[in-house]
Amino acid sequence: MSKLTLSDDVRATHGSKAPMLAMVGGALVLLSGLLSWSADSTVLDDVSVRFYPIGAQIYIMVMGVTAIVLGVLLRKRPAWMSPGRGLRILGWATIAFVLLLALFAIGYETGALANLNEGLPVALVGGVLVLLAGMVTPEVTLDVRRWPKLSSSLEIVVIVVMMAFLLFAVAHALSLESWTFIAFLLMLVGVAGAVLGTGIGGYLGFVGANNRRPLLLAAFLVAFLFPFTQDGSDANMSIATQIIIFAATALGLNIVVGLAGLLDLGYIAFLGTGAYVGAMMSQSAFATIGWKPPFLVVMLIGSLVAATFGLIIGSPTLRVSGDYLAIVTLGFGEIFRLAMFNLDGNNGPKLTNGPNGIPGIPDLNFFGFDFGESHSIAGFELGRFANYYLLLLLLIAFVILVFSRLNDSRLGRGWVAIREDERAAEAMGVNVFGLKLLAFAVGAALAGIAGTIKAHVDTSVSPDQYIFLESAFLLAAVVLGGMGTVVGVLVGASILKLLPEKLREVNDYRLLAFGLLLVIMMRFRPEGLVASKRRQLEFHEDDEELVALTQQEHLLEAQAEAK
């Protein structure tokens, strides 16, 4: 956004008007929620009635309140905060919110822009004012040494509040459909972006870094509690299971791409390998292998087979690098799919039933706990997908553990060194080829485990689930979320799996929107949604303020560690 700011002169002369602008803009946005948005009462759960805010109208009122609060903060600014930046983000988000809803949710859905009533135009004016307020605010240098110093127990309270908020937001978002869902997402992006953008984001990151364990625990608690908010309904839980499988696989890919820097465009084949192993050794009537070991053994075999494939694919391909590696792995991804397509007994051994795949894979059963049935736990109903969700939660916890242990280890350092400068790494005594192979094998093994569970969740396995597009989506999740990070990839995977599920109306334009999203991201935030400081610096080396801030934060963290 830095390119879209005003000159220092303008800011110096008009800076004093910023708080007023922000508050007036915020008030207009707030007011717009009470007005009528559409003459047609069928869109957005009926936003035609005045003084009866509902859904998207409530969201925009939240944005208005945020703008007013930031305006007040502008008057008495703490040294570590920059409400101006927050206002700019909020202004852009409000404008995007209004335009998107006006043009598509009302204009396109009702067939005529004439259905537009006074509410959204008022909000647009408010949004522009908020943006202006942000733009005329003089740029300030943040002083992170003034961060509020909380006692450690209060810091944990901060984390708990954050996590509770997260749980609430996710549960609420999942209950929404189509345009209201988009409206909520835009509001969330705007308000969270604005609040975090003021400098609170850096502070929360600092608090989180000081309390890694409680943070991790709280995050898993939230994830664990999530199925209990769903009243036994499986609609959202089935999406959630798909997200976790996707995220676990993306985290495996993150080792290969994010840590070792090897571009793999055929990664979905390893998930497929696991899934096929899981299916072939299952109790399904169509299973092609007679041996039916317990599922834990199947998981182990699935991961080993995938890792072996990783080694087989890796040893010839890892001698090439960069673009060539991408092309070769892309080829291997297709070879996998075509091989599964053809191992039907006619063209080769009967292993995969060809295009029909292996259907009828029964539900898992651990010590009498049938994953296919509903269970009642402490008065809460947990359906089939909720059962699998909890199992998958264990899987992803394991994957995260493996990833972060590797990331902090000697091996992880070796991988990053290879990514940064292969020759220098070799001079340091890093076995470059060996470590690259290991990255391939470990990533593949994690995807393989996820695959064996996926076979049971989906109840069938067929070649068309493992097309190139899936590999591209996995890579996109890693890049979109933030290469080399755990949280980023989780966020990226959730967004990429959730959006298509919630936006069935625009499904035909899914790839178009996806491409657009990637282009916008690469323009404004190439380091990904959740970026490690390292990557942020990489993409914004000329941003002196960021460099200074980072150095200050390093000092603070070093002090905190010394304590």
């Binding site: 790494a425 340091m428 890093v430 080396e541």
Partner: protein, 237 residues
């Protein structure tokens, strides 16, 4: 006493072009040996071949009695031979500490931490900025990091490729005096330098390279006094 490093009739070629045309030299334990010469003389190529990043077309390299010509680069480091490459080649996005730990990549013992402290003692600025990305460092600080990083593998022989390149006179002095400190601490050093004066002053032995051949050899003092060297490399008439 047999030499710590013995290079015999070494020939290295990039494709058809021979960069090193049959050179022979040795480094005894405890020495500071310097290779000097102009651009393209083959100094860097020689170091890269010794550390296994390039393969010779002819000749032998023996380090502590072991032939290095077929040992992979990553194993050469664990034999006790560290290479601080030309242009420093630090990892700019990694922190100072991560860079140093990468220097110790070939080791798995428990004394890495104490060596980290030793590196910090050698260059206190590295400790002050241990959590900072190395790319934000100045050239001189990066050179300190590169040397500290090379020392982290506990080398018996440290090869430094142009440590003073692009540094201010003051920083150059600091770096070159560290070379002496390291020698006093018992590290044998093979130093490649364009700054012949500074290198020869500290060297027990020197070799002058010209387009892939050794044209002159002698003790540091001898070379410093030699007319040929003074004319060609020290800019004196």
């Amino acid at each position: 006493m047999s030499a710590m490093l013995e290079v015999k009739d070494l020939e290295v070629a990039y494709g058809k072009i021979k960069a090193v045309k049959g050179i022979t030299f040795d480094v005894q334990e405890g020495e500071v040996v310097t290779l000097i010469g102009t651009n393209g003389a083959g100094k860097t190529t020689t170091l890269r071949t010794i550390s296994g990043l390039l393969r010779p077309t002819k000749g032998s390299i023996t380090f502590m009695g072991k032939d290095l010509t077929s040992v992979p680069a990553h194993e050469i480091v664990s034999l006790g031979l560290a290479h601080s490459p030309e242009g420093r080649r630090i990892f700019p996005k990694l922190t100072v500490e991560e860079n140093l730990l990468l220097g110790a990549f070939s080791r798995k013992d428990r004394e890495i931490d104490s060596d980290l402290q030793a590196a910090y003692e050698l260059f206190p600025i590295l400790e002050e900025r241990s959590k900072q990305p190395a790319g934000t460092f100045s050239g001189g600080e990066q050179q300190m990091l590169a040397m500290g990083r090379a020392m982290m593998s506990r080398p018996k022989l440290l090869m430094l490729d142009e440590p003073s390149m692009g540094l201010s006179p003051l920083m150059m002095k600091r770096i070159m005096s560290t070379v002496t400190t390291l020698q006093e601490q018992g590290t044998t050093i093979l130093l490649v330098e364009q700054n012949a004066q500074a290198a020869l002053k500290r060297a027990t032995k020197g070799y002058v390279l010209e387009v892939g051949n050794i044209v002159l050899a002698g003790t540091g003092q001898e070379l410093l006094a030699s007319d040929d060297v003074r004319k060609a490399y020290l800019g004196e008439d």
